[in-house]
């Protein structure tokens, strides 16, 4: 167990907003619509709202766990389950976050290969991306917060400005009739939606780096609300812009929406937008990888630099080995299922376990 970070390595509570948005608002905005629309059609936006609310509840639990433990998750695990089982839990969480990073890296490279450069080789792009990730992470947590903030400044305005172009083609009637699907269908869709909002679990690791950490909870909620609203807006726009069948056919509906934009100086906006999304990818990969290496340092006193190099090499190798769309989709769907367990089973479990254990301690 390491000492808590000193004051000069911490960041102000409101930065939690950007960190949460960075983790949740990434590549998901391009492609999340299809899986949800498959189940609930025109009611997809309801699933987004339900998922958003459920994430708020989970986030609240996360803060309760951390506020009680007053340290990061590896220490809390150790307190609750002892060094062996606790270590195992921590390791599982770390592996989960690192796999998320692999999934993000590979999806982004695939996106570039399909949209811009079909000849681009995976290893080359992975090399550039991960070299950048290395440079940022080695700079420490505050640098990562900086890149999250910058990425927010660069990507979100583009995202919202681009919503203006499809307006002319939108049909409100696509949204009706509301509630045309059963509750079971809605819940299935909600499950798929939650995957897009995953990533906030990194807070388990950077909690100790926040000044006055319990006060940052409201910023965490603001961040989640912001991501949920972004997803909600793009979902409603896609539903109104596409007919259902076409939405099901599009692999990246948001980019297809961007294809309609026509500036006088730029015929095809999606290429520019896709390049800007590098920031968004970079910050989530940085955040996940940083959380992973930080966890390893807590567990095994590994020097962060060494574990970082090893992990980045492993990420690159994994990315190169995922060759086809099916494999990438498979990884996504595995992560999809895993994230469900992490968010709706594991976090509540820790929450209640800690509560019960606390009560037992007090009575005895």
């Amino acid at each position: 167990m390491l000492p808590l970070p000193s004051e000069n390595r911490k960041v102000s509570p409101f930065f939690v907003f950007y960190l949460i948005v960075a983790a949740q608002f990434g590549l998901g905005v391009f492609s999340f619509q299809r899986e949800i629309v498959k189940f609930v059609g025109n009611d997809a936006w309801i699933a987004v709202i339900i998922a958003g609310i459920s994430i708020h509840v989970v986030l609240w639990m996360v803060y309760q766990i951390l506020n009680k433990g007053a340290n990061d998750i590896t220490v809390i695990h150790k307190d609750l389950f002892g060094p062996w089982l606790g270590g195992l839990f921590s390791l599982a969480l770390i592996v989960y976050l690192l796999t998320l990073a692999v999934s993000v890296v590979r999806s982004y490279i695939e996106l570039i290969q399909v949209w811009i450069f079909p000849q681009l080789e995976t290893w080359y792009m992975a090399l550039i991306l991960l070299a950048l990730v290395y440079v940022y992470i080695i700079g420490g947590f505050r640098i990562i917060v900086g890149i999250c903030f910058l990425s927010f400044i660069f990507t979100t305005p583009i995202f919202f400005i681009m919503l203006g172009f499809p307006l002319r083609h939108m049909q409100a009637s696509h949204l009706f009739p509301i509630f045309d699907h059963s509750v079971a269908e809605l819940l299935t869709a909600t499950k798929t939606m939650s995957y897009s909002l995953t990533g906030f679990e990194t807070i388990f690791f950077f909690y100790t780096f926040i000044k006055d950490a319990p006060k940052s909870q409201k910023w965490g909620h603001y961040g989640t609300a912001f991501s949920t609203i972004s997803y909600l807006v793009i979902m409603i726009v896609s539903l109104m812009y596409f007919s259902k069948n076409q939405l099901l056919e599009s692999v990246w509906p948001t980019l297809t929406i961007w294809q309609i934009a026509d500036f006088t100086f730029l015929e095809r906006f999606e290429f520019l937008g896709l390049s800007f999304w590098l920031f968004s990818v970079l910050n989530s990969v940085c955040l996940f990888t940083w959380a992973g290496t930080r966890g390893l340092k807590q567990l095994y006193s590994l020097k962060q630099k060494h574990s970082l190099i090893a992990i980045l090499v492993m990420t690159a190798v994994a990315a190169v080995f995922l060759k086809t769309r099916e494999q990438i989709d498979q990884l996504s769907s595995v992560m999809d299922a895993l994230s469900l367990y992490v968010m709706y089973a594991y976090i509540p479990f820790i929450f209640f376990y800690q509560m019960i254990k606390g009560k037992l301690r007090r009575t005895s």
């Binding site: 080359y124 083609h169 309609i260």
Partner: protein
């Protein structure tokens, strides 16, 4: 030392990696319009207009056309490539033409790459050509430097006032859509101009019928809110009056049950008298004009609706309106019922002014 070595190798790789195919503006030729004619059941003839810009300052673009026969979009492009001086790219494609003959045989094979390829934008304008596409594209028009430029100006700046915007996105959306049949403008080469002829109606991906240019203006009124165009009608005494459209709105109301649906179409039209020769325009005549217009337009709309029902096409998207109204919408049953669904038109008009003259 190890660190420097790593970064040196890293930058060397960055510098000398060249597996990406570059497309430098000076080395490529942009296809700005592309059109297809019917040859036989499996083959079609594609004509690509790719104006060539010679080097130098203030040079006029040269008209360049490449024609080839083949089975698919890419197959034809590859054959056209055999003739062109530079690499043909479709990134700035602006117009996509289909001959009427080809449209009658189905266009789904042709439009698939429009939805699949990232090299073609979604705001490409589409049209059906009455007659030969090759002739329309390769003709040397006197009113524009290149035929492709004339065509794209015509489609983008002019046609948008006459009919709903016919972009690839709209076409694919309607064609793939659950609930509406696509339509495209028909253009033709008349003497030495391109002329708008009417609206082609599609059932799935096949051309099945068309509306005339006059009908298609009414169609626009029934399809979306508009701010342009003039409408002419005759009074009882065979005097003709032209109305300028200020704005019009349209609203569909679905009522009844799914087994016995009713559709009411409410159009409200705000107009201005632009042309009323030898008619005194006063309080009484304005009312009369309004009534005449409503009556005449309702009749024309009913006639048009009858045509749609006979052809079993739904370009107005009435099915979509019904779907958004009824829960558990049964599409199959609706399709069978569509020709019998009563559609009533309610035309409301208000003439705001009679221009700057008040002749009585």
């Amino acid at each position: 030392m190890k660190k420097y070595l790593f970064w040196c190798i890293f930058f060397l790789i960055l510098l000398f990696y060249n597996s990406i195919e570059t497309k430098i503006l000076e080395d490529i030729q942009h296809v700005s319009a592309i059109g297809y004619d019917y040859v036989d059941k499996h083959r079609m003839k594609g004509t690509a207009a790719a104006p060539f810009y010679p080097a130098g300052i203030n040079v006029e673009p040269l008209d360049a056309f490449f024609t080839a026969e083949g089975h698919t979009f890419l197959d034809i492009l590859q054959k056209q490539q055999l003739e062109s001086q530079r690499k043909l790219v479709t990134g700035r494609l602006q117009n996509f033409l289909i001959s009427k003959e080809l449209a009658k045989h189905g266009v789904s094979e042709l439009t698939d790459p429009l939805g699949r390829s990232t090299e073609i934008g979604r705001d490409v304008y589409m049209a059906v050509v009455d007659g030969s596409v090759e002739e329309l594209l390769t003709f040397k028009y006197t009113n524009a430097p290149t035929s492709a430029e004339y065509l794209s100006d015509f489609m983008e700046r002019n046609l948008k006032d006459i009919i709903p915007k016919p972009t690839v996105h709209v076409f694919l959306d309607q064609y793939n859509g659950f609930v509406q049949d696509p339509f495209l403008p028909i253009i033709e080469k008349k003497h030495d101009h391109i002329r708008y002829k009417g609206l082609a109606l599609f059932k799935n991906d096949r051309y099945v019928g068309e509306l005339s240019d006059k009908e298609s203006y009414l169609f626009k009124l029934l399809y979306e809110r508009t701010k342009t165009g003039t409408d002419q009608f005759s009074m009882k005494n065979k005097k003709y009056i032209a109305l300028q459209n200020i704005r019009s709105k349209v609203k569909y109301k679905v009522s009844g049950s799914q087994d016995e649906p009713r559709i009411d179409v409410h159009v409200s039209f705000l107009g201005e008298v632009k042309d009323a020769p030898s008619i005194s325009v006063g309080e009484g005549t304005l009312k009369e004009m309004e009534q005449e217009w409503s009556k005449g337009t309702t009749q024309r709309a009913e006639k048009m609706m009858k045509k749609f029902k006979e052809l079993k096409v739904d370009p107005l998207g009435i099915t979509e309106k019904a779907r958004s109204h009824f829960r558990n919408f049964d599409k199959k049953a609706w399709e069978e019922r569509y020709p019998t669904v009563p559609v009533t038109f309610h035309m409301k008009i208000r003439i705001t002014n009679t221009g700057i003259s008040n002749k009585s």
